[in-house]
Symmetry: C2
């Protein structure tokens, strides 16, 4: 690094941590990019005694938001200023500028803002970097970003699976179909790189490289954290939850091979793909993506309320427009929608989303229905549709659940139109049997 | 209580905790039935100083297993013996004997066993009470019991919803259909009380009471805990997760009413119910119930391994045969199946389950497909089917996900048949473009 950049003036080589710290101008600002967990606390413990009041520590790793909450407080007690900053962009972001989601000490962020906003990806002249909120707010938003990423990747994989399995298409042909969608409402980084991956040929065999990749998805934890915290908050995060479930199942390939020989399914039939079925698939992909983003923003809103973080959801959408993995045209639509904080509505009810879902729901239903009949698993496409139908359900069957809970556990229920808790002896048949 | 039972000799009235403790024979055994959480610690703190070494505390509430783990250790440090005991049975269980899932201090359980096994429900001469394992094992098994209960109730509610919405049937007619299934493989307590609830008439109006119950399901947390711990363990717990999501959605009735006016769905059509459709619904209910139990036992197995609890899964199935909310004929099938500990397989692969799923999968698919087309949400029926199809999938689309992860984050992937981690420049098109 120094060999390439040592003459640019901003890079310093140090043999010891002490020399490194001493070489920095005060107030010092140190960015940590360490594996989330105990290692972060270790580095903080090592650096803290060498720092002076007002110095700034920036954790730019994928730390769990509650750890960041704790560290912001711990650092403040020592007179230090702590910034927990979510960063998304991967390898390309490191070169072209990532999306940055800083939270924690506000004065520290304000001081760093000129540098950070310059480092970040730029979209329409705006930097994809702005203060998210106090404590762990920045890492929370990054966590949900990753949860949406899990769901969106899984939906793309489900559409790919249908094209491959039901329609018998090869990877380059599937890439061409995805390429036909890339300039419309589905325009997104994940779609673009899906096309790359599907088109990539293997240097050794000349075949499609994706066909040679082991079908066991790995995970590092942020998707799981997102799903778990949705449950803790009492919001619906089923898209991420289903995507995590699919990764777990995929990872058990030995078991899957065994189960494939034991469990029965529908007879496999390959059907040619026509234009109508192609449109249905793009409709399903767009609709499920909308649900994933809507659930994600709902979760951020709920967490913001719980922690009193006062996160500006539109500012989050703006941050995600460039540099990050889930950057997508959809985010412009979110910026155009009424603010979630004002309407209190999930994104789905905003005009463009409502209208788009009204158009896409038919193809979405046909896609899920066909995959269900064909035995192709579509956990996220199907759970997102169940969410859509559950949300718009005037009369849910939860009245039966409440009746059951009251019969077996005397948990009580409410009668429609009354606030008084009721309890009934359900085993008695009532009026007409008396 | 004392007015009714004071002459039976086993009940003592005490004005103070001190007098109460002093009145007990040593070693004392005290059952706590307190709301889970801080209240339990409060009672323990209050009682501990008054107790002698070897005395026994039994927490028979719905405590979180990790709290019980901690309390077993804390009590042992004070020379006390702590038993965390899951109890299921509700109101009826309190009279006829519940299912008991005791864990924690083994010597304490052995001492209490003669009394507890007498109090418990009896099935074929066996008490529904046996030692589950150390630490929080008993409360863990009770938690998963409740998770299965959430999933099973939601599946019943989804079938009810289809019968009500798609087929336009009234509650008593739906009860008759369920009654036609009660003597077969679907035989269960939850089905029995569903029939009660659907048949119950309102004393005031004479109409079906269930139609007057507010359709907002409540929850006390054990379903959510089950779903969260499945994620933490890295096992698939999608049935309970989807059921919890459905309860959350149902509870937001104000939002649902607003969304119902905004979000588009398929045109409502009521279709008569024929015998084939009825069979499809019972097939779907049985298949989804099997998945809920299979995921639950998988989760217990994973937790047992993590905590080294050495839980005997068949003993758990035996405990659940009587007294508890999820008692069902299915449990006898589980007792007949090869032991999960030996086969390492989920329940689905055992002969009776495999064969039953082979028969039921067609009706299950038609049920989910129809509900999907009709706009009736079936989150648990659909997610269970996605799990079934994902489990038996020889070739999952996770190869694409691994390719994407490697392109955006250089996370690496494995090539089928090789253990060496690979990394590729996916944006380059490969061989044929060179």
């Amino acid at each position: 690094m120094l060999e390439r950049h040592g003459d640019e003036g901003d890079f310093v080589a140090s043999d010891t941590v002490e020399a490194f710290i001493a070489s920095l101008k005060r107030p010092r600002a140190i960015i940590l990019m360490v594996k989330a967990g105990d290692a972060v606390d270790g580095v903080i413990d090592e650096l803290s005694p060498l720092l002076d009041p007002g110095d700034i520590l920036i954790d730019a790793g994928n730390s769990l938001f509650s750890d960041t909450d704790r560290r912001v407080g711990m650092a403040a007690a020592k007179g230090l200023r702590f910034v927990g900053m979510g960063v998304s962009g991967g390898e390309q972001g490191a070169l072209d500028g990532p999306s940055m989601m800083p939270g924690g000490d506000r004065s520290a962020y304000d001081q760093l803002a000129p540098i950070l906003t310059q480092m970040a990806a730029q979209v329409d002249g705006d930097a994809c970097c702005s203060y998210v909120g106090p404590g762990g707010a920045g890492h929370y938003v990054k966590m949900v970003h990753n949860g949406i990423e899990y769901a969106d990747m899984q939906v793309i994989a489900e559409i790919y699976d249908i094209l491959r399995t039901t329609h018998g298409l090869a990877a380059p042909d599937i890439a061409d179909i995805f390429a036909g969608w890339r300039d419309g409402d589905l325009s997104s980084y994940l779609l673009d790189i899906t096309i790359d991956v599907l088109r990539r040929r293997d240097d050794a065999t000349g075949g499609s490289l994706v066909d040679l990749v082991l079908d066991e998805a790995e995970q590092k934890g942020t998707g799981r954290w997102t799903a778990m915290d949705a449950f803790r908050l009492g919001v619906v995060g089923t898209s991420t939850a289903a995507a995590v479930g699919a990764r777990v199942l995929s990872a058990g390939k030995v078991l899957r091979l065994r189960a494939a020989g034991v469990l029965d399914g529908p007879a496999a039939t390959v059907r040619p793909l026509d234009a109508a079925a192609t449109d249905d698939l793009s409709a399903a992909l767009l609709a499920a993506r909308i649900v994933a983003f809507s659930q994600g923003f709902d979760q951020i809103a709920a967490a913001s309320k719980e922690h009193d973080w006062r996160i500006d959801l539109k500012a989050v959408a703006a941050l995600w427009r460039g540099g990050c993995i889930i950057r997508a045209r959809l985010l412009d639509r979110i910026l155009d929608a009424p603010a979630r904080e004002d309407s209190g509505d999930p994104l789905l009810l905003a005009p463009w989303f409502r209208d788009t879902l009204a158009q896409t729901q038919h193809g979405w239903r046909r896609t899920v229905g066909m995959a269900t009949a064909d035995g192709v698993p579509t956990p996220v496409l199907a759970s997102a549709l169940a969410y859509y139908d559950g949300l718009r359900q005037e009369r849910s069957p939860a009245n039966l659940i409440q009746g059951l809970r009251d019969e077996f556990g005397a948990h009580g229920y409410r009668r429609a139109g009354s606030d008084d808790p009721q309890h009934t002896d359900w085993a008695r048949s009532g009026t007409d049997a008396q």
